[in-house]
Symmetry: C2
Subunit: 499 residues, 2 copies
């Protein structure tokens, strides 16, 4: 399989004396697990975005704060870049290693330090898995709301670094909305606390700034999250439509009625058929689009809302509306959606999962543009949406063994993201920018805005040692990438202007 790797970042970094660094680490931190042989480094060459790979110079696996501090201080002295990694499930290459950098794996920080049911908080180490927090909170009737699809594997530190979302973030918010406090180490190895246990921390809101900063501002060593009481009941409605435009209209009507579903998802025909073939969820395979709408809360409330949503769906032209009869059918309805990605994996050698957000009203227009792009690049696309909050996940189907298909898929994905920006949306919903979308950041932001990002980065990390080459592009890179900035409202898609 081809590898998409950008030589420029590593190329621009100064040479590192690996044997000397290794020796210094071993001497100063004798208990630290360090991987340095080629075969040991191989498993760490990519994260969940496996099309991008790079073997790290060294991998360190600390299990104490002092070890992380020691690594950071040594790297800072020698000006060696450090890339942090949690569970490695990220989909935008945020934890892609550097050939001239140390990969700092935080997976062994996996302890739940405290659950406080009265304050409804959990204090955990960054390597704790997302789902493990909810499991630990379950005996108290509590759970941690953000639920990325990878929640069984992904770590809370990575969730904070990428500001992860999930099916339920329309109602319950992204990671940033469910955090109280993080403890971090600066690039120099100093301990800092961002946020507080109380409502409003004075000074600048560095907690929110840090959340989603993709390992560029510091290393997370502890996280305090908010817990929520489990809803009494959850019901799911499935609605079929003969056009995506009608489904899109129904979404707008539900939101405008003041109903906030726990989850509101859309799938298009190709995604429906793939999921049905795989899971047998009972989806209507002839439908052009389906909506899944989950309502949760107290019994009476959910009952009323189900009735209102059904009426709205029917008024918007649904050809069929079904409420899951029981918990078994509810779980089955969701299983189809949650397995849409692997289901698509069954009908294509490879797929490339995109992640962008758009204003909900732009949905029909954007889907038409994506169909036109699919024609232009001669690749199929299946559309799966967190449609309630306008977060799209088009899956581009390709075969990496066919020469040029990977590159076409990448270019296609890039155009989808730029399309999102051009309609007033953004190039990421919940997967982050990482290495994947760094060029599209040039479309999203003006040079003044990028300059400000760099100034903020420098306030934390003046030498640019933390995860260089991710998240915030250099102005030089943007200039190379071309004048894609569309803030002035000018569409960079001449061949799509007919829509």
């Amino acid at each position: 399989m081809n590898i998409l790797y950008d030589e420029r970042v590593d190329g621009a970094l100064p040479a590192v004396d690996k044997p000397a660094l290794l020796q210094a680490l071993q001497a100063q931190l004798p208990d630290l697990d360090i991987l340095h042989a080629e075969e040991d480094l191989k498993p760490y060459e990519c994260d969940g975005l496996s099309a991008y790979r790079c073997t790290p110079m060294l991998v360190v696996l600390p299990h104490t704060l002092a070890q992380v501090q020691g690594v950071l201080k040594l790297c800072f002295e020698r000006k060696v870049p450090v890339v942090a990694r949690g569970a490695g499930t990220g989909l935008s290459g945020g934890a892609l290693p550097l050939a001239k950098g140390v990969l700092l794996v935080m997976a062994r920080f996996n302890k739940i330090l405290a659950i406080d049911p009265a304050a409804r908080t959990a204090r955990v180490q960054p390597g704790v898995r997302n789902l493990a927090i909810s499991q630990a909170a379950a005996p108290f009737g509590l759970y941690y709301a953000p639920d990325p699809s990878s929640q069984i594997a992904c770590s809370i530190g990575g969730n904070v670094a990428e500001n992860a979302g999930g099916v339920h973030c329309l109602k319950y918010g992204l990671t940033v909305h469910n955090l109280l406090k993080v403890e971090i180490l600066t690039v120099e190895g100093e301990c800092l606390t961002l946020g507080a246990d109380s409502l409003d921390a004075p000074g600048f809101d560095l907690l929110a700034l840090f959340t989603g900063s993709e390992g560029m501002l510091g290393i997370i060593t502890e996280v305090t999250v908010k817990l929520l009481p489990k809803p009494q009941v959850a019901k799911v409605l499935l609605a079929a439509f003969d056009s995506v435009a009608k489904a899109g209209r129904a979404v707008g009507d539900i939101i405008a009625a003041g109903i906030i579903p726990g989850g509101l998802e859309m799938m298009d025909n190709l995604a429906i058929r793939a999921a049905e073939d795989f899971i047998h969820a009972g989806y209507p395979v002839a439908a052009e689009a389906i909506l899944l709408c989950e309502l949760d809360g107290v019994e009476a409330d959910v009952h009323d809302d189900c009735d209102r949503v059904r009426t709205l769906l029917e008024q918007a032209g649904a050809t069929e509306v079904r409420q899951a009869r029981d918990e078994v059918e509810r779980v089955k309805f969701w299983a189809g959606r949650k397995n849409a990605f692997p289901a698509v994996g069954r009908i294509s050698a490879d797929y490339y999962c995109m992640d962008g957000t758009i204003p909900r009203r732009e949905l029909p227009h954007v889907l038409q543009c994506i169909a036109a792009l699919a024609h232009k690049y001669d690749l199929r696309v299946a559309n799966v949406f967190h449609v309630g909050d306008g977060n799209m996940h088009p899956l581009i189907l390709f075969d990496a063994n066919q020469p040029g298909e990977l590159e076409r898929a990448e270019a296609f994905g890039g155009e989808i993201l730029e399309l999102c920006v051009s309609v007033g949306g953004s190039i990421t919903g919940e997967h982050g920018v990482g290495r994947e979308k760094i060029n599209q950041m040039c479309a999203q932001f003006s040079s003044d805005e990028l300059t400000l990002f760099h100034a903020v980065k420098a306030a934390f990390d003046p030498h640019g040692l933390l995860n260089p080459g991710k998240n915030i592009p250099t102005l030089h890179r943007c200039a190379e990438f071309g004048a894609l900035h569309v803030h002035a409202g000018q569409l960079p898609f001449p061949d799509l202007e007919r829509f």
Copy 2:
């Protein structure tokens, strides 16, 4: 009346050639309203924290973006400090002018630019009053949730600058949770957009960083807020207790039960009596504490929650629990609370309103400490709380015409804030730091943390021209103020350690 004014900030600023600056402003911006005569400047010498006053060098009242840009560019060239002001209702002196600075009054930016009922957003200019947004949204069944007590007068720009809260922020969040996007001008007069119309903006979260930054990072020129559907019903319970400890326990029980009230407020005996004398709300004047608990949402849900809360209140030892019979009584219950400040104003020549947050469990301990401090300073104190989120507003009663009382009140207030920090809370809940709490920031943060704040400030404003002397203290000031840092858990209150 005495004035508490800190000469050090103005003293440290370089001299400004006022006539030359005035001439340049008049020449370059002929349509700009500029106040420069002593008598015209007087009304602007303070904000809502009137104990601190300073006559600004010049006041400008722009009504176009180009004028604001022109003022900023000119001041930037000449390195003249700029202090932004909205409605001037702030309670921490965030808009206190500088004798060597320009006061930039944004009150004329008072247009509601768009209400989008489908997207549930409002796009407004920064001088629009908080309540005016809800009034404009009312025809669509929507409102803007954060409701500071000053909402009839305070401006949304000021709300963003201070990250304002209100009675309902326990359930609906602070300003930062209800914002989508702000347009700002940098210190150099460049336009920037922070945030986006879509769910998650890539790059660093500068919108959250900017919110609550008290005019130190840029000038707000436009704000897009989220609107919420009005709850179907709202019910209020009033519970009386013979001790604040029992009332505090009831609060913990309600929250632990997973109920999130729309508002949850506590008043102590002095506050109850003052409010009852003024408003005749029907409060039990013999009670040591009352709780007001509002539940809002859909009918059935609210009905169930009222029953559950009543049971919890009774179990916690309430001597009486009353539910407002109708809307008239509900409004009366709230009127007593909302007028608690002016009510206290009737029983004391002056009062000083504090604002700190504490973990809820520390409530009885903190109230005991405040009582001891009241004894030490020989001043009365009435306690009014947004108790659901641990946000206290102790009102210190004093008479500014009695020599030394203002200074005693200020010192008392400072000790209350440091007490909040020592129990794991913070020196502000919703009023901001401003000039008022700048010394207490030294207690809240370590020198590493303050250094990072300054670095972030410098990323936006390298010459420190925007609102200098507020929010983030210099390390020099902290050193002067004394070694008050209590992060290490060491209590700086030897005379209170008996509690």
